[in-house]
């Protein structure tokens, strides 16, 4: 009787073995996070830049949940990044200066709005989906631009205060606290995302990505799952936005512009979708490249970003991480 009612706790069933195998940590995964912590101890490291990379990585990872695991492209993901960023900004400006609770509130707010958006788009697909997500992003961007009395308009929100993390670590000008704080928050959220995509729910998302009709026949609640994953992705994006606001003590309308939505999409495509790590690798490549190109040719650097995009989709449509995986697999087989 009990084996039927509680199959998940039984380690010997094929299903639970399967999920346990999925969730096992690989060596390179551990190395990846150790390397990120190690960056902190490198002398003269450009920590503000690395902090940005971690935050962008988290932002791209939130889009990966949507695009990589459920196959929903969004042209307006920056809307949630911006909601989180402004929420954290207002909290800091009006006296709620404790960072961790502020971050949670900002992420929850973005998640709630993401849930509502998910309700709206759960039946839409194709071009209409791209247009609705883009349209919602533009509406929000427009509101923030127009209500300059409330949002500071183009100048952004000034005078954001953030208390030391845990009452101990002050945000310094070298970005040391900021880097570790961003890394810690990102790691916790990464663990959540990893658990999510390796759970039965994550598997249901993948199934719906590959063959929605068949998933319906298997009895999967397709539309409810879309709404759920949209809310989660929005909350993660909101957390990324809040992180950026808290670590820079500033937020401006560029954080929810179409440009930002396009950038995060580019990052994810460069790194590779459906891998979680692709988001971070993509963010690393994109931001380092942008930094370097902008220094090289301040006016024309977007040409190279554009060329990179064209070459990527033409020859490496899968992105860096999946291409590397395929390479490793081929080498091993020999």
């Amino acid at each position: 009787m009990s084996t039927i009612s509680e199959p998940a706790t039984d380690r010997s069933t094929p299903a639970s073995q399967y999920f346990a195998g999925l969730a096992r940590w690989r060596v390179w995964e551990i190395l990846f996070w150790v390397a990120l912590v190690g960056l902190f101890f490198v002398p003269d490291a450009n920590l503000p830049l690395y902090g940005q990379i971690v935050i962008w990585g988290l932002f791209a990872m939130s889009l990966d949940l949507l695009l990589g695991y459920r196959g929903i492209p969004s042209l307006g993901h920056a809307a949630f990044f911006g909601i989180g960023g402004y929420a954290a900004g207002y909290l800091g400006k009006f006296g709620w200066i404790e960072p961790i609770s502020g971050l949670v509130i900002a992420a929850l707010l973005a998640g709630v709005i993401g849930w509502l958006t998910g309700r709206l788009i759960q039946r839409v697909s194709g071009i209409a989906l791209l247009m609705v997500t883009l349209g919602l992003n533009l509406i929000l961007n427009d509101v923030v631009h127009r209500q300059s009395g409330l949002t500071g308009g183009d100048d952004g929100l000034q005078g954001i205060e953030v208390a030391p993390v845990l009452g101990l670590f002050r945000f310094d000008i070298f970005g040391r606290t900021a880097y570790l704080y961003a890394l810690a928050v990102t790691f916790v959220l990464f663990l959540l995302a990893r658990a999510l995509v390796k759970s039965p729910f994550g598997l249901a998302l993948l199934g719906a990505r590959e063959n929605p009709r068949r998933m319906i026949m298997l009895g999967a609640p397709l539309e409810r799952d879309v709404t759920t994953v949209f809310a989660i992705a929005a909350a993660f994006a909101g957390a990324a936005g809040a992180l950026l606001t808290q670590t820079t003590q500033f937020v401006s309308p560029t954080s929810l512009s179409f440009q930002r939505s396009a950038d995060v999409l580019v990052i994810l495509i460069i790194g590779g979708t459906g891998r979680l790590y692709g988001a971070f690798i993509g963010a690393f490549v994109f931001l380092i490249l942008r930094d370097w190109l902008a220094e090289l040719s301040p006016v024309y650097w977007y040409f190279w970003i554009g060329l990179l995009l064209v070459v990527m989709v033409a020859f490496f449509r899968k992105g860096i991480v999946p291409s590397l995986e395929a390479l490793v697999r081929r080498v091993r087989r020999r």
Binding site: A128, Y302, G306
Partner: protein, 287 residues
């Protein structure tokens, strides 16, 4: 009363511009299922052809318009033959990213040659100033735009409905696979349609230079309008595109005139609602 009529008229003129700019995109999207964001770059190209021809070569305005059409058409033909045709049949997102990359490149290239500033355009004196018509004071240039747009709309609708090539285009929009199976040279139809669409975009860019201004960020600024017109009107329909463009033009001008503080809010909200209500557009058929 007169202000309402003037706002309506300005909106229609703006809508005509949007129609010429986006009709090619609508037809090629309906035909090949190809999401070409770089269509907006062809428009910018037309604008810069106008700048070069009128300012640097000193040729008259009316000659530069067909030149803008021809140059933009040729360039879009080249791009279609060398790049885009390898991406038919890939998913929406791949096409969006590819053409977004092309937009970034086009912006950088234009900045390299002409700098990042707005270009000054001189139009002939008979197109400047205002004219009294039926008790209304209307700008001559906008009247010119409405006339050009109306003629082009008639030509396109007539051409699509009554000519042999138009029948080929309609066959390809309805079902490219069956059209090919029936012996139609769909590659050729695709390429020619693409060239005409790109040329029209270039013409619209040249026409808009005086009104909207032309600078390297033109594609990103008007891309959204293009996408709204195409998706609200429905892909692959000329009348749908015309209706959506006029609707959007009037809504945008009226919104900016009567409620400037809410800005683009009106059109974006309309777009989202239409897309949720009819995902295939006002006049689009189910794919």
């Amino acid at each position: 009363m007169t202000t309402i009529a003037t706002v309506l008229f300005n909106g229609v003129a703006y809508g005509m511009l949007l129609f010429i700019m986006s009709v090619g995109l609508s037809v090629t999207m309906g035909m090949m299922n190809f999401v070409n964001l770089a269509h907006a770059s062809f428009s910018m190209l037309g604008g810069y052809v106008l700048v070069v021809v009128t300012q640097q070569l000193g040729l008259p305005f009316l000659i530069s318009l067909p030149l803008a059409f021809v140059v933009a058409g040729l360039v879009s033909l080249v791009v279609e033959r060398t790049i885009f045709r390898y991406f038919y049949g890939t998913d929406d997102l791949t096409q969006v990213l590819l053409t977004l990359g092309l937009i970034f490149m086009s912006i950088a290239i234009v900045t390299y040659f002409w700098g990042g500033t707005y270009q000054q355009i001189r139009v002939p004196s008979w197109l400047t100033g205002q004219q009294d018509v039926l008790g209304l004071t209307l700008e001559r240039y906008r009247m010119f735009l409405v006339a050009v747009g109306a003629v082009l709309a008639l030509v396109l609708i007539f051409g699509l409905e009554r000519t042999r090539f138009g029948a080929c285009v309609r066959a390809c929009v309805d079902n490219a696979r069956v059209a090919r199976a029936c012996g139609l040279n769909t590659e050729l139809v695709f390429a020619v349609t693409f060239a005409i669409g790109g040329g029209l975009a270039g013409l619209a860019g040249a026409l808009s230079a005086n009104l909207l201004g032309i600078d390297p960020n033109f594609p990103l600024r008007y891309l959204v309008y293009l996408l709204i017109v195409v998706s609200v009107g429905g892909m692959g329909t000329i009348t749908g595109t015309l209706v959506a463009a006029l609707l959007l033009g009037v809504a945008d001008v009226a919104g900016k005139y009567y409620a400037p503080e809410i800005g683009g809010f009106v059109i974006y909200t309309i777009t989202v609602l239409v897309m949720l209500w009819r995902p295939h557009g006002l006049m689009g058929r189910r794919a």
